[in-house]
């Protein structure tokens, strides 16, 4: 399964490197979301700094929908899904590989967005250890749930519009946990953040286990 995951992740990342969709389109979209939030909030009242953690993760979630749609569109095009079904690849390995590739792209986005909230909102990035510890399980959870719901929506004719409706509610616990942990890190209140990291880890493991178990049947049905 891990060999198959490496093969699929390598292929997806090579495709991303050649097409530059994350760097050229998704990252600018994520930054645009941050800029629009900056227009909507009054920068002088300090509300942007207080809401920075939540705005960061909302931007990550919106961007993740684009990354997942792109990831699944690769397989929907030109009979590739049939070819995957005809391959020897373990469906769990395909899931892990696609989720890993999405996660790598989200990490790049998160770096860009962290720089964005520092520059645009004037947020001081304190508590680096907690910030990193939050990003790891939150990113894994978003990528796993996104890949699972991506293949679920892939078989439906209205997949482009349905995916956000399916995915964003499922990711609400990740948004809450990651925002709380990030907020604790940015406020310098590290003790408040670690329990949320634990909760995020539980959600990530749950989404990964569900994906490994369900991806095969969903690939068959899509």
């Amino acid at each position: 399964m891990l060999r198959d995951a490496r093969l699929v992740a390598g292929k997806d990342l090579r495709l991303e490197w050649r097409s530059r969709v994350t760097i050229g389109q998704v990252a600018p979209f994520a930054l645009l979301v941050l800029v629009l939030f900056a227009f909507a909030f009054d920068p002088d009242s300090g509300s942007l700094q207080r809401a920075a953690a939540g705005l960061f993760w909302v931007a990550v979630l919106f961007s993740s929908v684009l990354a997942v749609q792109r990831s699944m569109a690769m397989e929907a095009a030109d009979g590739n899904r049939d070819a995957l079904r005809l391959s020897l690849l373990d469906p769990g390995g395909i899931f892990l590989g696609k989720a890993a590739a999405v996660a790598v792209q989200l990490v790049v986005l998160e770096v860009v967005l962290l720089i964005g909230i520092a520059v645009l909102y004037g947020t001081r990035l304190t508590g680096a250890g907690l910030l990193l510890a939050t990003c790891a399980p939150a990113t894994a959870g978003i990528a796993a749930a996104g890949t699972l719901y991506g293949v679920l929506a892939a078989g439906l004719r209205v997949r482009e519009t349905l995916l956000p409706l399916l995915l964003l509610p499922v990711l609400a616990p990740v948004l809450i946990g990651a925002t709380q942990a990030f907020d604790a890190a940015l406020q310098g209140d590290l003790g408040e953040g670690w329990p949320w990291v634990g909760l995020l880890t539980v959600f990530a493991l749950l989404y990964i286990a569900s994906g490994v178990a369900a991806f095969g049947p969903l690939l068959e049905e899509s």
Binding site: K11, L15, S87, L89
Partner: protein, 220 residues
């Protein structure tokens, strides 16, 4: 010897529509069989059912000794399907695509390189992104990806489509070599003259069923 393909009163549904409505077909090892019939007759569904991509819900369906009603995954590993779609990633190069699908099928890098050479894709085209290829070059790449799998059962849906004269001759040569090596080949084609020259049998499909099955000597 057990036939490679054995369908008896096989039924397959596409939604509620019976795309296969009681197919009877036996194909032996090393045979090349042409499937002919009008559009919508069920040729593509029959090929996809043989590949284990369409569920057979009634009758008997055994391919390469596997009962498709019990297990469709095992047979998929042993067949090669060349469909209407080319199943290639546009941004990857020709070599990247063939290497990926070869490795995904458990074949080696050497198998993939051999297939690239056989299809004439080992020169300048090897490192060209697929979205820059002509339709015929895409088709060759797709055939190379299938060839690298070393399938025991070849399922070819309009294999000559989009190819120039040299490409068509190449496909015919590959089919001949596969058959001589013991592989079984099912070809669905509207190019009857060319396909008939390849096939030992012609099976006519209409309304989701086999309506005629004759050896080529009788075909004319």
């Amino acid at each position: 010897m057990e036939p490679v393909v054995h369908f008896r009163s096989a039924v397959a549904l596409l939604g509620r529509f019976p795309a296969l409505a009681g197919v009877d077909l036996d194909v032996g090892r090393g045979e090349v069989v042409l499937l002919q019939g009008p559009n919508g007759a069920g040729k593509t569904t029959l090929l996809r059912a043989c590949a284990g991509l369409v569920a057979v819900v009634g009758g008997e369906a055994r391919v390469l000794g596997e009962d498709l009603r019990l297990d469709r995954r095992t047979v998929r590993r042993r067949v090669g399907l060349l469909g209407h779609a080319t199943a290639l990633y546009d941004e990857l190069t020709v070599a990247d695509n063939v290497h990926f699908w070869a490795r995904a099928a458990g074949a080696s890098r050497a198998d993939a390189d051999g297939a690239l050479t056989r299809l004439g894709l080992d020169g300048r085209l090897r490192d060209v992104a697929v979205h820059r290829l002509s339709a015929g070059q895409r088709r060759r790449t797709s055939i190379a990806a299938m060839l690298a799998r070393r399938p025991e059962l070849w399922l070819l849906d309009e294999p000559h489509a989009g190819l120039d004269a040299a490409g068509r001759d190449l496909v015919d040569g590959l089919v001949g070599e596969a058959s001589a090596a013991g592989a079984t080949v099912l070809v669905a084609s509207h190019e009857l003259e060319r396909a008939q020259a390849l096939a030992g049998r012609i099976v006519t499909v209409a309304g989701g069923a086999v309506v005629e099955d004759r050896v080529v000597a009788d075909a004319s």
